[in-house]
Amino acid sequence: MSEAVLRYDQVSVGDALPELPIELTSSLIVAGAVASQDYTPVHHDKEAAQAAGMQDIFMNILTTNGLVSRFVTDWAGVDARITNVSIKLGTPNLPGDTMTLTGSVAEKDDAASAVTVDVTGKNAWGNHVTGTVKVALAAGD
């Protein structure tokens, strides 16, 4: 698989990133928690989640961050270098729902060949995540 590389000069403020729908399955939520070494019971044990007032297991924050990062590098390619991820957390990601990630370029920093991308991940209940990702791109020719 050869990856397209997005260069800094190809990007304009307002550019939209390709939308990324994520099906929220129990498998994804557990796999994300385990891959991030986060065995807090509410992310893999339904009974523990219910005892905590939720009706099912819910996605941990590292997985949310991982998906946000993937969303940006799916667009920006292998030469992207993420320098900052800042997110606000909202409605939980629960099995059976879908989170759709959308984003657009909010700012360009010529000196650093970096852009700031606004990202929103929305599920049926509202915004699961809103935030920004700063990512340095390959400089233009």
Binding site: M1, S2, E3, I22, L28, A31, G32, V34, A35, S36, Q37, D38, Y39, T40, P41, V42, H44, D45, A49, A51, A52, G53, M54, Q55, D56, F58, I61, L62, T63, N65, G66, L67, V68, S69, R70, T73, D74, G77, V78, D79, R81, I82, T83, N84, V85, S86, I87, K88, L89, T91, P92, L94, G96, D97, A124, W125, G126, A138
Partner: protein, 324 residues
């Protein structure tokens, strides 16, 4: 009720020493940064970026070699299976602070914000450790979840050369939890399943109309005396004050009389932006409904629309409109 007066004053005095405090334990990665954990992470996230798992692509990229996904930073120092037992290091001042909140009724906990900054991408073989400082504790706040305090922490990550590779902040709300069981590290509770629409209040005067909807028909009430149409259903004719009525079925054809586009606030269960139109039905009365599958900018007064009865959530049927 949240503590107040002298009790609150005493409590907040006990919080002061924690501000600026290092939590007293260092988190040390049990494994160096390695390809197996990176591959596992990428599979879970569905992340196919070659910089993480394809040595050739990574070698030819700006990274020069395989690197770990940056958002995996905290994964290198988390506790793994041991976290499920709930045992914690008694020297951990952050846990001690949470217990202090718990003891004063602020048992709920929810993470509201997190920020990560990466000085460099981690490479295979890097050995990571981290230290955490409680940076600030807010004053008492009334939040949507209840009365509570925000705690801000910052975790700094270092490599085998003691160079900082990045940091992570968390903003956590400790709040008075109305729910009986307190979560240990849980986000806010939500209702089960997918969001459902608010149900109409059914009574003698409108039950028949909703029964028609259930049968797939858009009914219009009609005065038996003066023949005037009316909607929504009500017991008496506004024109002739007769309480005798019948109904007709609408063809669902109409034109947009007026409309609004709702963008904010978003109510769960609807798709936004949401076009809500007053439709002149061809029978001669008006009906309010959502217009679907049309860009808000394309909606016009006078546009021809057609109604259909559709399920709008798991159980509720409603007439909705589309461009005719």
């Amino acid at each position: 009720m949240a503590i107040s007066g002298k009790e609150r004053e005493d409590f907040e005095k006990q919080l002061e020493p924690y501000v600026g405090l290092d939590i007293g334990i260092e988190d040390r990665g049990r494994d160096p940064v390695n390809a197996a954990m990176v591959r596992h992470w990428c599979e879970a996230m569905g992340d196919h970026c070659g910089a993480y798992t394809d040595a050739d692509q990574a070698g030819n990229s700006v990274h020069g070699e395989l690197v770990a996904p940056p958002t995996m930073l905290q994964a290198w120092i988390l506790g793994g299976v041991g976290m499920a037992t709930g045992e914690s290091d008694p020297r951990d001042k952050q846990k001690e602070l949470h217990r202090l909140f718990d003891a004063h009724g602020f048992t709920g906990v929810v993470a509201t914000n997190t920020e990560q900054e990466y000085t460099r991408y981690l490479k295979m073989g890097d050995e990571i450790r981290a230290t955490t400082v409680i940076e600030s504790i807010s004053e008492q706040k009334a939040t949507g979840l209840g009365i509570g305090y925000f705690i801000n922490t910052r975790t700094r990550f270092y490599d085998q050369n003691d160079d900082e590779v990045g940091w992570l902040t968390f903003r956590v709300l400790k709040f008075e939890n109305e729910a009986p069981a307190a979560a240990t590290e849980a986000e806010a509770p939500a209702a089960a399943g997918r969001p459902q629409r608010l149900k109409p209040a059914l009574a003698h005067d409108n039950q028949w109309w909703w029964d028609c909807v259930e049968q797939g028909e858009l009914a219009i009430q009609k005065c038996s005396d003066c023949q005037a149409l009316r909607h929504p259903p009500r017991p008496m004719c506004g024109e002739c004050q007769s309480s005798d009525w019948e109904f007709v079925f609408s063809t669902g054809q109409g034109t947009i009389h007026s409309y609004v586009v709702i963008r904010y606030p978003e109510v769960p269960g609807y798709t936004y932006p949401l076009v809500v139109a007053v439709v002149d039905l061809e029978e001669g009365t008006r009906f309010v409904g959502n217009v679907l599958d049309v860009e808000p900018d394309d909606v016009e007064i006078g546009m021809a629309v057609q109604a259909s009865i559709e399920l709008v959530d798991d159980e509720m049927k409603l007439p909705v409109f589309r461009r005719a």
